[in-house]
């Protein structure tokens, strides 16, 4: 049953990712992108990552896609979209080669997968792993500095002279 749900989510994700590229109207492409983010959140749920699924919906569906839609609304000739660039066959060959290489490597490598049952709720262990002893506290600080500098950089770039 869960396998069937995974295949439904996977097909939906691949179809909406292709639709983001193929659809000419960029606003509809943004809606397909939101559908992709939601199916990815469902895939996280299938992987027992409940906190990550909620964060996916909060950040990607709630913030990033709204930012993209605002960008679409504020730029004038973005609505009708343009045709693909001139290197599309070369790009298709490159991406298919990369996909083939990755799948070939996957088929020839076996990962050691222990049989432990996954954790039922991940919020507490994630918090302990982030902020506890031997955690990633320094990385959290760096992420905070990165977000602050991104905000300041965005304001500095976009400010009217």
């Amino acid at each position: 049953m869960l396998d069937l749900i995974f295949y439904i989510f996977a097909a939906l994700a691949v179809a909406s990712a292709i639709a983001v590229i193929v659809v000419r109207d960029i606003f509809k492409a943004a809606l397909c992108l939101i559908l992709l983010f939601m199916t990815v959140a469902g895939i996280y749920l299938l992987l027992h990552a409940d906190f990550l699924a909620i964060i996916q919906i909060l950040i990607y569906v709630g913030a990033i896609s709204i930012l993209l839609i605002v960008a679409i609304m504020l730029t004038r000739d973005a609505r009708q979209g343009q045709p693909l660039g001139k290197f599309k066959y070369l790009a298709a060959v490159v991406s298919l080669l990369l996909l083939g290489t990755i799948v070939f490597c996957l088929l020839n490598v076996t990962f050691a997968t222990p049989d432990n049952a996954p954790l039922n709720e991940t919020i507490k262990p994630l918090g302990k792993a982030l902020f506890g002893d031997q955690g990633y506290l320094f990385t959290v600080e760096i992420a905070a500095v990165l977000l602050l500098s991104a905000i300041l950089g965005a304001i500095a770039v976009i400010r009217e002279k």
Binding site: L2, D3, F6, V14, A17, I18, V20, I21, I26, L33, L36, V40, I43, L47, A49, L52, I55, Q56, I59, Y60, I64, L68, A71, I72, L74, T75, D77, G81, Q82, L84, F87, K88, A91, A92, V94, S95, L96, L98, L99, I102, V103, L106, F111, A112, T113, P114, A117, P118, L119, T122, L126, A129, L130, T139, L146, L147, S149, A150, G153, V157
Partner: protein, 104 residues
């Protein structure tokens, strides 16, 4: 073959990544290029969380990395859209062909 394990998630991640790569290489609208970069980041997150679920089910290191990838993605979108607006004010266009201000 059809029972879902680590390999299926990794293949899904690879397919999504390559779709995003094709979009980045071929799209001419800058906003759509940013969308395709988001697809690629999501594909990487899927593979990180799949590894976290199947290879280290108790330690959750992959999920921590996915959180940091999301932080970087949010920062990247904010800065990217600011750059798009700044260039749009100069050129009145979002076509990548017109974004050659830095070209020497």
């Amino acid at each position: 073959m059809f029972s879902v394990g680590l390999d299926q998630y990794l293949v899904l991640s690879a397919v999504l990544f390559c779709i995003g790569l094709f979009g980045v290489l071929t799209q001419r609208n800058v906003i759509k290029i940013i969308m395709c970069i988001e697809i690629m980041l999501n594909a990487v997150n899927i593979s990180l969380i799949a590894f976290s679920r199947y290879v280290t089910p108790v330690v959750l290191t992959g999920q921590l990395f996915a959180i940091f990838v999301m932080v970087v993605a949010a920062a990247e979108v904010a800065v990217g859209i600011a750059i798009i607006f700044a260039a749009y004010r100069n050129r009145e266009s979002v076509d990548i062909e017109n974004f050659n201000i830095l070209k020497w």
